[in-house]
């Protein structure tokens, strides 16, 4: 626990690279995502045809052209149908992509977990996954889809407008381009300034809220509720300030976009009226006008999308930054050796370069089936040893061998299937007793669960719980006492059939009597397995083959 975790410096990832990384994660969904864009564009075209026809037909009737309403009806029906499917399809594609992203992120996190994660704020991480991933739905639905569809609409609409006059048509096309591409770009610039502030303020607010909710006991005991509540309201004001700044700019930008849209309509209107521009033929002119009204008002909202893009790229950056934390040790693919001797050769290790080494030139051998204790004061690096053996950290010098094979050449999962680990930080999940014991495995019968619970001396307690194995134990096992929770965690370790057990302070939180009984059962329960017991003291009942004392980074005595 006391082992400081390294602050892994990650090179500032550029927002473009971050976005393209996210797009790569979405590769399996490309077909869906692109199909969604196509349907979206078709829906826009149908809407455009509908309004154009409506204007054109009325004008046609006025100048005595024959009635022909087929296209009008057809475009009406297709607009309804296409819009429905567009919404459904793009949202579904987006959610699939987001689910992929969540899973990818978690997997990446797990890769670098033991090394980098301990220093990350859990509240901040929650923001990163839930909120940043959520923010990324804007990337597709509110940025990419409308942008691509605007790009495809531009030539079509310009052609329609040019029928009302070449100059007027081109001018309106240019105004459309300003609305659809230049204003959003300006918006994106603006929000690159404000977006990070908002996300940061939100994250700070969330940390303050978590400080309050997880520190409710402290708050009540010290009568300091107001201090913590004030922290929440302070950060809320910071957030509101940032939001208000952005909302104001957004409203102004939106207003500006509205004016440009009206200017485009005015140009066509002038062409229809024969003012400033040569007069357009009536039907073509009025059709163009109705199309202009529909299309320009449709893309006015893109300025808003530009503002969103700053937030989106920042969210992408943070997600990629966390995900790119390098795993502590490279993964190999050598086959598992037959032997289970664990050997450390001249290992030197430190968590960060600016700290003193925890081990200097350490040599240790734990033979197969041997039971050893590693004793030392807290802070001496006992837990770091566990991290090294499990490849959650890698030595600066020296190597670690399992059955004669360097563990860096082994697959992580293979190595970890051989070593079961009980740490002070072993987490109890907000799940049932059963869920905590199995951690998702399905291949273990209840009898084995009860046997492990028996060995960990907790079976009687579990039997008396209202739902037995299916009792929910709460956040961090909060519905159990500290000692009971530790024993559930121990039962989980005993349940694994790993030949090597690393038990890091297994008796913390147990009273003296329970501890003694517990260590005695441990002697029997671990028959035939190698055991490395890490502790700050011994009680005398442990059956041990070796005792190592760790001081100043070295094993200074070894007895038995």
């Amino acid at each position: 626990m006391s082992a400081p975790l390294p602050t892994n410096p990650v090179a500032e990832t550029g927002s473009e690279t971050a976005l393209s990384r996210i797009l790569q994660v979405w590769r399996p969904q490309y077909t869906r995502l692109i199909t969604g864009m196509v349907i979206a564009e078709l829906a826009v075209c149908a809407g455009l045809a509908l309004m154009g026809q409506a204007g054109g037909r009325i004008a046609g009737a006025a100048v005595g052209a024959g009635p022909a309403y087929l296209l009008l009806r057809l475009s009406g029906v297709s607009q309804i149908v296409l819009r429905y499917f567009e919404r459904l399809y793009t949202h579904d594609a987006m959610f699939r992509a987001l689910a992929d992203l969540r899973v990818w992120f978690y997997r990446k996190l797990a890769g670098g977990a033991a090394a980098g994660l301990g220093f990350q704020r859990s509240g901040d991480l929650l923001t990163r996954l839930v909120s940043d991933v959520q923010t990324l739905d804007n990337l597709y639905l509110r940025i990419l889809v409308p942008l691509v569809s605007a790009l495809l609409t531009l030539p079509i609409a310009t052609l329609v407008w040019m029928r009302a006059g070449t100059e007027a048509g081109l001018l309106t096309g240019a105004l459309f381009a300003v609305l659809a591409f230049i204003l959003p770009l300006m918006g994106a610039r603006l929000s690159r300034r404000f977006g990070p502030d908002i996300l940061r303020a939100e994250s700070e607010l969330r940390i303050a809220a978590l400080d309050l909710t997880s520190g409710l006991r402290e708050a009540r005991a010290f009568g300091a509720e107001d201090v913590l509540a004030a922290a929440v309201t302070d950060r809320q004001e910071t957030l509101f300030k940032a939001q208000r700044r952005q909302q104001t700019r957004m409203a102004l930008m939106q207003g500006f976009a509205g004016l440009i849209a009206k200017a485009g309509i005015a140009v066509i209107l002038c062409a229809v009226a024969g003012l400033l521009f040569p007069q357009a033929p009536a039907i073509a002119g009025i059709t163009a006008l109705f199309v202009a009204i529909t299309v320009l008002e449709g893309v006015t909202g893109l300025a808003r999308a530009g503002l969103l893009s700053g937030q989106v790229s920042h969210a992408a950056q943070r997600i990629v930054e966390i995900a790119d934390r390098a795993p502590p040790a490279p993964e190999g693919n050598a086959p598992l050796p037959a032997g289970r001797d664990l050997r450390l050769e001249n290992v030197t290790f430190r968590w960060t370069p600016d700290r003193d080494p925890i081990f200097r030139d350490l040599n240790l051998t734990l033979r197969q089936g041997e039971r050893a204790a590693l004793i030392g004061p807290s802070g001496a690096g006992k837990s770091s040893l566990a991290a090294l053996i499990l490849k959650a950290a890698s030595p600066e010098q020296g190597r670690i061998l399992l059955g004669g094979t360097d563990i860096t050449t082994l697959r992580d999962s293979d190595l970890r299937s051989q070593i079961a680990w009980l740490s002070q930080a072993s987490h109890l999940f907000d799940d049932t007793v059963r869920g905590n014991l199995l951690l998702g495995r399905t291949d273990i019968p209840d009898t084995a669960l009860w046997a492990a619970l028996d060995q960990a001396r907790i079976a009687d307690v579990v039997r008396n719980l209202p739902d037995g194995l299916d009792t929910w134990i709460g956040e961090g096992g909060s519905k159990l006492s500290g000692g009971q929770g530790r024993r559930i965690a121990l039962a989980r370790v005993l349940l694994s059939d790993a030949p090597i057990l690393v038990l890091d302070e297994p008796a913390t939180g147990l009273d003296a009597e329970t501890e003694r009984a517990f260590l005695e059962t441990l002697n029997n329960a671990t028959e035939g397995r190698s055991v490395l017991l890490i502790a700050h003291r011994l009680t005398g009942v442990e059956k041990l083959d070796r005792i190592w004392r760790l001081e100043d980074g070295q094993v200074i005595s070894s007895a038995c």
């Binding site: 819009r83 429905y84 959610f95 969540r102 809220a209």
Partner: protein, 561 residues
């Protein structure tokens, strides 16, 4: 379920009332904007009619009116946007205050029922999600009907036939909405449950990620996460399928109105129509999108309403605010400690799990020390929580200096006690802030005294910025002993007459434990102390011993024991 709905409805209504004044400003601006829309459509129809009938005299003025209306409308809607945004901020500020008060009102007992992350999510995300409800939904909900029928009437006055068609199509909307709206509401309730579950699950899994990775469970957990993310998608799509169907009905009504009006109006235009007839026909066509615009704004905000219902339910799970009447005096004689008496105290967390403290009684004189003993799970921690006032006895009472704890406000209780637990929660902030937390108004001398009494100064020099070093989540890591010293400094600073110690050294090695115990003994001088600990060293504390077994006091022995 039924009762829940009524509560949610009542809450939503109350919220509407609370922000009525701000909403009505947005609504008035919206109405003005609709009126300008009518003018805009009329001017445009006028322009086009004059072009088609080659009546060039009136073209110029009509275009002028059109452009003026356009510009005014853009300005109005910009102001409307800004007003709506500030209405959203105002409402969120008010709500967050309310939720904060409720959380603090119930205090630590809340943590027994809810995950701290879930409470934090209510406080932050649920309320943030309400922005749209106040900024968009409430104004749109009051505006759409008036605005829509204003357009219908304006059209009817000019053009009876088209007006009637538009009225018929608009009248269909509430029927469609009633059908689909109910279905969406039901489905979105489920979706929010799934969402909340995904958040809680993820935080829990992230906290335990080392356990998962090192026990080889990464793949299984990733699959479980993928499954719940997919579950979320499916639930969301279920909601959206209906929600989109509801908005498709708007499209149906609008397209029907447009096509019918074009077809019928085109008939009236046969031959050489007059300027006025043509204007009316074009006016009708242009007003169709206008008539549905307000309803579209409402549909776009539909999700915002669902957020409000979900938030109402989450808030309902927090206890309502209760005013505890403070009867006791606030002025305290702190020197020498206070006496603590437990009279037949029993306690159960809930009926189902049975009583955890049975009929415990003891009398502890001022300045004495009580050591709680017993196996893990015997009820020591629960007894401490009772003494801390986090929970109240189901039966019996606890007295501080003869005063029933029940008659004391949480503030009065906390003014009498200091508490040091197994692992102090250190907040994100500097060491100074973390110590001052116990008494924010403490003087610099008091702070210095507490820092040196708790021996925090012994390790300050090894920290990068001394007292200003940022610690806690994401900051500089402190060892267990160093963190515990901060808790001791807090207790010194607080200087309360009763000191409650809950296994303060259980996570420390013997050497650090011995050092911490020296500081604790120092702190204990002149105070009443209640200590629970397994550690042999900690039992060197001289005092009374109370032995608990399965929630019962089986021995209470005197001082020299």
């Amino acid at each position: 379920m039924k009762a829940d709905k009524t509560i949610a409805k009542a809450w939503v209504k109350a919220q509407g009332r609370a922000s009525r004044s701000r909403t009505s400003v947005v609504v008035v601006l919206g109405l003005l904007s609709t009126l300008l829309g009518l003018l805009q459509a009329w001017a445009l129809a006028r322009t086009l009619a004059s072009v088609l009938t080659r009546d060039t005299d009136s073209t110029g003025p009509a275009i002028g009116v059109f452009l003026l209306a356009c510009v005014l409308r853009v300005i109005l809607s910009t102001i409307q946007d800004m007003t709506a945004a500030s209405a959203g901020i105002h409402a969120r500020r008010r709500l967050r205050r309310e939720v904060l008060d409720r959380i603090i009102g119930e205090g630590p007992a809340l943590l027994r029922r809810h995950h701290s992350a879930a409470i934090a999510a209510t406080l932050v995300d649920r309320i943030e999600a309400l922005d749209g409800y106040f900024a968009r939904w409430l104004p749109a909900a009051s505006l759409w009907l008036v605005s829509q029928w204003l357009v219908v009437i304006a059209l009817y006055v000019e053009n009876h036939q088209a007006g009637l068609i538009l009225a018929a199509c608009c009248a269909m909307l509430p029927i469609f909405q009633a059908v689909f709206g109910i279905a969406t509401a039901v489905a979105s309730r489920k979706q929010f449950l799934a969402m909340n579950r995904l958040q809680t699950r993820f935080l829990d899994r992230v906290k335990g990620i080392a356990t998962i990775v090192l026990s080889g469970g990464t793949d299984r957990e990733t699959q479980a996460l993928a499954k719940s993310a997919d579950d979320l998608r499916q639930r969301t799509m279920k909601v959206l399928r209906i929600a989109f169907l509801a908005s498709a009905t708007t499209d149906v009504a609008m397209v029907a109105a447009l096509v019918l009006i074009v077809v019928t109006q085109a008939h009236t235009l046969m031959g050489h129509p007059s300027d006025a007839v043509l204007t009316r026909a074009l006016y009708a066509v242009l007003l169709v999108p206008e008539a549905f615009a307000s309803f579209r704004a409402l549909s776009a905000a539909y999700q915002d309403r669902a957020h409000a219902t979900a938030a109402a339910e989450a808030m309902h799970e927090l206890a309502p605010l209760t005013e505890r009447t403070a009867a006791g005096p606030d002025v305290l004689q702190t020197k020498g400690g206070i006496s603590v008496t437990a009279e037949n105290v029993s306690f159960a967390w809930d009926e189902q799990r049975g009583t955890v403290i049975h009929d415990v009684s003891f009398v502890l004189p001022a300045g004495a020390t009580l050591i709680l003993e017993g196996a893990s799970g015997a009820g020591k921690s629960t007894l401490l929580e009772l003494l801390l006032g986090f929970v109240s006895p189901s039966q019996g009472r606890i007295l501080f200096d003869g005063q029933d704890m029940q008659s004391l406000s949480p503030r009065q209780i906390s003014s009498r006690i200091s508490w040091i637990g197994q692992k102090p929660v250190l907040f994100a902030g500097t060491i100074r802030e973390n110590i001052l937390f116990a008494r924010p108004d403490a003087s610099a001398e008091d702070l210095d005294r507490a820092v040196s009494a708790a021996a925090v100064d012994q390790y300050l020099s090894s920290l990068p910025d001394g007292l200003e070093t940022r610690i806690g989540e994401g900051g500089f890591g402190l060892s267990g002993g160093q963190a515990q010293r901060i808790a001791i400094a807090r207790a010194y600073l607080k200087d309360a007459p009763l000191l409650l110690l809950d296994e303060p050294t259980s996570h420390l090695d013997p050497k650090t434990e011995a050092e911490i115990l020296v500081s604790l003994k120092d702190l204990a001088k002149g105070r009443t102390v209640i200590l629970c600990s397994h550690s042999a060293q900690a039992r060197q504390f001289q005092g009374w011993h109370l032995v608990l077994d399965a929630g019962r006091a089986i021995a209470f022995t005197g001082e020299a024991a």
